[in-house]
Symmetry: C2
Subunit: 358 residues, 2 copies
């Protein structure tokens, strides 16, 4: 039997609830597919802060590094919102991404036919949307130096950050973009602000240079302001989008809301080697935490991405995806995706239904 060690980071808010359900799904699929999973649960985010005083304890990072894949619930909460930067749950997440060197963040935004009515977009606009945002995750303004709050030469107080990309950082994320597009509809749209920013002009130059390695993929470029518009106007025009860390943060969230089912969307963060990081794109939703109301499907679908992209277990991944679709077909809905005539269930019951359908 194949054996994999999985580091599990339940995190904060609804994280522990959705993780518990997703872990059961992973166990079952392992039993059915003859895969053995070893689990190690570690603290991370706000709960790690409360427990250890830091948002990403060294033990958590080294456990994560030594495992085959990392599954994260969600982090953050009002309680820690006013902490200084180095004591924010979010800082722990950034340290984890950096520590695991997961530079490529894959964020699918798919409108499932079962949930098309949850979108605030008109049915004919939302129907059939199936796009993938590839966001650069360990560079750009998130990590660039110099950064800080200080004083300028006129003695005025200033806040500053640096947007910076080296050629190798752009080249490798561009390749992930092209490879991903190649497996989809062979259309890659690179998003930048090259009419204003040098960092973007350089980005565009490098992406264009890498394109020669992928003659079968059609490359286009779009300014970020236009991309933010086009996602609302006609999201179906997009297949694969590749963009920098901050633009990817904004556009992938916008795209996910367009699907209307943010409680459904998983993500994968991958490096050149080593374990990938898999997490739902939704947050920790502190207001519904502990009430068995959370939608566990995004975490369950993150498990599918973990199997597919993290472990190469495509079969097991497909079984989970199908189980989720079956469960939706049977009419089960958590509150966030509920509509009249469907069966309202809690987090646990939704998990049990998925288990039945695997």
């Amino acid at each position: 039997t194949k054996r994999y060690s999985i580091t599990i980071l339940p995190g904060d808010g609804i994280g522990p609830e959705t993780i518990s359900v997703a872990k059961d799904v992973l166990k079952l699929i392992g039993a059915l597919e003859g895969i053995e999973f070893g689990f190690q649960e570690m603290p991370m985010g706000g709960s790690a802060l409360d427990l250890t005083g830091v948002p990403l304890p060294d033990e958590t990072l080294s456990a994560a590094k030594q495992s085959d894949a990392v599954l994260l619930g969600a982090i953050g909460g009002y309680k820690w919102d006013n902490n200084p930067k180095h004591l924010k749950p979010e800082t722990g997440l950034l340290q984890l991404r950096e520590g695991l060197k997961v530079f490529a963040n894959l964020r699918p935004a798919t409108v499932l036919s079962q949930l098309v009515d949850s979108s605030t977009l008109k049915k004919e606009v939302a129907e059939g949307v199936d796009l993938m945002v590839i966001r650069e995750l360990t560079g750009g303004i998130y990590f660039g130096k110099p950064r800080g709050i200080g004083t300028n030469e006129n003695g005025e107080e200033i806040g500053f950050n640096t947007e910076v990309y080296a050629s190798y950082e752009i080249d490798r994320i561009a390749r992930v973009g092209f490879e991903t597009a190649r497996k989809r509809n062979k259309k890659l749209c690179s998003v930048d602000k090259a009419n204003v920013l040098e960092a973007s002009m350089f980005w565009r130059n490098r992406v264009t240079a890498i394109a020669s390695e992928y003659p079968d993929v059609e490359l286009s470029h779009m300014y970020v302001d236009n991309a933010a518009m086009q996602l609302v106007r006609n999201p179906k025009q997009f297949d694969t989008i590749v963009t920098n860390n901050i633009f990817g943060d904004i556009l992938s969230d916008e795209a996910s809301m367009i699907t209307g089912s943010i409680g459904m969307l998983p993500s994968a963060s991958l490096g050149a080697s080593g374990p990938g990081l898999f997490e739902p794109i939704h947050g920790s939703a502190p207001d519904i935490a502990g009430q068995d109301k959370a939608n566990p499907l995004a975490t369950i679908l993150s498990v599918a991405m973990l199997l597919k992209y993290g472990l190469g277990e495509e079969n097991a991944a497909k079984r989970i995806e199908n189980a989720v679709l079956d469960t939706l077909d049977k009419g089960f809905r958590t509150g966030d995706i509920y509509s009249a005539g469907k069966k309202l269930v809690g987090c646990k019951e939704m998990g049990e239904e998925v288990l039945k359908s695997v």
Copy 2:
């Protein structure tokens, strides 16, 4: 009689067409309201590049500075897209904003009841949206130094920009935000990325400090990724938004697309003193230029903003706004906002109809 001198920058693409119509509206309103306008037309953008070799000739900037208000059509086009940075039409626009010191960009996004069906959002989501984005326009990553394409200490090629805000820059745009909210529904939402960026933490601190001057305005803070989602999920939650240059660029375009009638939306850019800059938010639309297809209403409504915010002629502004609404009520539509049963007209005819309704 009152006299005002107006610098007119028709620019590129559909700019000259919509400007010609808007100028007629301004002349008529002047005649009716007893205001005399002196017009000076100057080259700017791509057409200035072709004529003089630079996108913002010195003569254009100094004429603009000496006038009471500046009306701009649109700039840019495929022809100049691959020019080096200093020879791009966009660079001329940035130089104009900087030269006029218009640090506050006001971008209303209003869903008119007559046009609610043009939105890709469901009617119940789009109906009644009436928000104002206040975008900082002369600072941040658009203008921050150092910037460029160079080499880092490892000898790798890099592209870099600097996001930087001094306290006075944040304070003055925050005040514009609070003043604007005060005249609207007294709700100001400041958008930043303070969970990651020091520039944003500083921004949030300053905005919070300025809030004490405006106890009657309710201030909230939102992360930019969440704002991009919330604009799609429930745009009606917003009244006034204040944000930095790059986030404002992205969010105001997203907001405008949510209204479904980007051909309808004006903008005003204001400084502490001196002439303001007024322009439609749409681009130069080179593919329909010269075909009498453009929607002139955004430029006409920019004239209304010019009268209201630039010259304090609120009466004249109101007359123009009402004339536009009347024209829509009568069923006249350009192609971009056309729907079955309405009267399809070109740019000129739309202008004539507005003139009749003034």
